[in-house]
């Protein structure tokens, strides 16, 4: 049996909950894993060595940082799960220094909760696997955990959302309807769910690593009549300043 821990930093809670949404599939995982810590599933907690640690959320406070360091130091394999952990997501997109933000919201620069500027897990520690998505596709986590349990090297996706969009034969909303779709520059793996509903991809899985061409996407959206500020915000929503052009 492998020992598994699930740790939550600052996030909406959806990514940790999504693991439980595997429902009966969760029992497949329990054939290989013993859960040593997962506060949404059990009050049981055993602070000891872990084979696999899953961390969701951004580092947004001193407490988060300590939890993350613990997870990293006590585990062999660390998975950054969800876009908060891999890219910073929405809270990571908020610009400015923490003291200024505190002043703006609370009227004082005091920081009793020891908040930090929100940053993804990957900025603080080395991770063995980064699985983005807001939320991630739970079946992707399922595949990953069984692969690890069987000693199979998990394969990282290398393609944008467009590939899965075409594999499903969805009408291209960017080309055919002028909907601002970030599919061409966003890492695939979601099976193009948004396009399935006729919506444009909002980039929740973060940019296609190394390969995204935001400059061209920016020009395409501008050509369609969207203003620069709108596009800039769209690019920033999940990926902080990663998409530069």
């Amino acid at each position: 049996m492998l020992k598994l821990g699930v740790f939550e930093l600052t996030d909406c809670g959806g990514c940790a909950l999504n693991i439980l949404f595997l429902y009966d599939k969760l029992f497949d995982l329990l054939k290989f894993y013993e859960i040593k810590e997962f506060h949404m599933a059990s009050s049981f907690k055993e602070h000891d060595h872990l084979d696999v640690a899953i961390v969701t959320g951004t580092v947004s406070s001193q407490r988060d940082l300590e939890v993350l360091k613990h997870a990293r130091n006590y585990s062999n394999y660390l998975i950054a799960l969800g876009t908060c952990a891999t890219h910073g997501s929405v809270q990571g997109a908020v610009e400015g220094k923490i003291r200024d933000k505190l002043e703006k919201v609370y009227g004082t620069r005091a920081n009793p909760m020891r908040a930090l500027d929100s940053k993804p897990v990957v900025e603080y520690v080395a991770v063995d696997f980064a699985l983005p998505g807001c939320p991630y596709d739970k079946m992707e986590l399922y595949q990953l955990l069984i692969d690890l349990a069987k000693g199979i090297e998990p394969v990282k996706k290398d393609y944008p959302v467009c590939i899965e969009c075409k594999l499903n034969e969805y009408e291209c909303v960017l080309v055919k309807k002028g909907v601002p779709c970030l599919g061409p520059i966003t890492l695939g793996g979601c099976n193009a769910v948004c396009i399935r509903s006729g919506l444009g991809c909002i980039g929740c899985r973060g940019p296609l690593p190394k390969e995204a061409n935001p400059t061209s996407e920016f020009e395409i959206l501008k050509e369609l009549g969207y203003d620069e500020e709108y596009i800039r915000k769209k690019f920033k929503t999940f990926a902080r300043g990663e998409l530069r052009w």
Binding site: P160, L167, E169
Partner: protein
């Protein structure tokens, strides 16, 4: 070799003929879905878009499926999944028939792809005539007319269809439906010719095929590729919609703790790992390499065997960056002067 036979299908018998096709298999035909066309299962002639331009995914999808489960891991052993159904593809354009013949060369030559072969053998292909739109350039490549690769081919006439019979199966279908057909008259042939002439004059896009392979030989370092590298998103849409793209990826997925499936899906040479080989070497490491590669794959690798492009225009229609296949090749040629 099949001796071509021409018969006429008058308009009033068209629907009955269409319905008779069901006895040969499940009928799939182009159907409008939003702003695109797709080959879908149809029950009535009314559902079919006879005047469609092109489907987003070519008929390739019936033989090499976008996602295809090939094997299942059960009790520690791989079991083959190979169900084949009889189908009728109704309304295939000439360029797509040529596209399938290019695929045949790859999938039916040694080593034969058994999945492809079985599906190909169980499919009836009924071609239909078409008018080009702004994306078509099949005429430049000689793929605007199919001499074989179909069972029946329907050419639009003012009062029905001129039907070319192209295979033994086609003869069989024509024979069983004998009462629906008439003999072709001089006037029908005149109308057929008029249609073809009008069609021929309607092409707006032309590819200069002259010495294309030699030209590409010299143009490997053309600045044009570099310019397009900046515009291309590397999204792979052009590959996914292409009737002649042949690359696929094979992946395993767990379906429970002990059972898995092996799935193959279309792949695209615009993906970074497409050129990655053992040892970590990547022979197409940059987007420039990959952008250029597609043009070489389509027009260069073995021009003696024909180009790997049938001029269907899909890559242009579905490129979010509006990159135009013919324009790129023209610019590359121009830059050599």
């Amino acid at each position: 070799m099949i001796i071509l036979r021409y018969v006429k299908l008058p308009s009033e018998n068209f629907e009955e003929f269409f319905n008779s096709l069901k006895r040969w298999g499940t009928v799939y035909a182009p159907v409008k879905q939003g702003n695109i066309y797709a080959f879908k299962r149809v029950d009535t002639l009314g559902e079919v878009s006879l005047n469609y331009t092109r489907t987003m995914l070519p008929p390739k999808k019936f033989f090499v499926r976008p996602k295809d489960t090939l094997l299942k891991l059960k009790n520690g052993r791989w079991e083959e999944i190979r169900e084949v159904k009889k189908i009728v593809l109704f309304g295939v354009h000439s360029c797509d028939i040529h596209g399938l013949q290019i695929l045949d060369k790859v999938y039916l030559n040694d080593p034969v792809d058994p999945y492809y072969k079985a599906r190909r053998e169980n499919t009836i292909i009924i071609g239909i005539s078409c008018m080009p739109d702004e994306y078509c350039f099949c005429k430049s490549l000689g793929t605007h007319f199919a001499m074989h690769g179909f069972d029946l081919f329907l050419h639009e006439l003012p009062d029905g269809w001129l039907v070319r019979v192209g295979s033994v199966k086609g003869h069989e279908i024509a024979w069983v439906n004998e009462s629906l057909f008439e003999d072709v008259t001089e006037e029908d042939l005149k109308h057929f010719k008029e249609f073809e002439e009008k069609r021929s004059a309607s092409f707006k896009k032309h590819l200069n095929k002259e010495g294309l392979a030699d030209m590409l030989d010299l143009a490997f370092d053309s600045p044009v590729w570099k310019r397009y590298e900046r515009i291309c998103l590397g999204c792979g849409n052009c590959n996914m919609v292409c009737p002649t793209c042949r690359c696929y990826e094979v992946c395993d997925y767990w379906i429970n703790a002990y059972e898995a499936v092996r799935v193959r899906r279309y792949d695209s040479c615009f993906m970074e790992t497409h050129g990655l080989v053992a040892g970590g070497h990547n022979f197409r490491p940059t987007r420039l390499d990959r952008f250029r590669h597609r043009y070489y794959c389509k027009s260069y690798f073995d021009p003696s065997a024909g180009f790997n492009c049938v001029g269907c225009g899909r890559c242009d229609e579905f490129c979010p960056a509006k990159i135009e296949h013919v324009k790129v090749l023209d610019e590359v040629r121009e830059a050599l002067k």
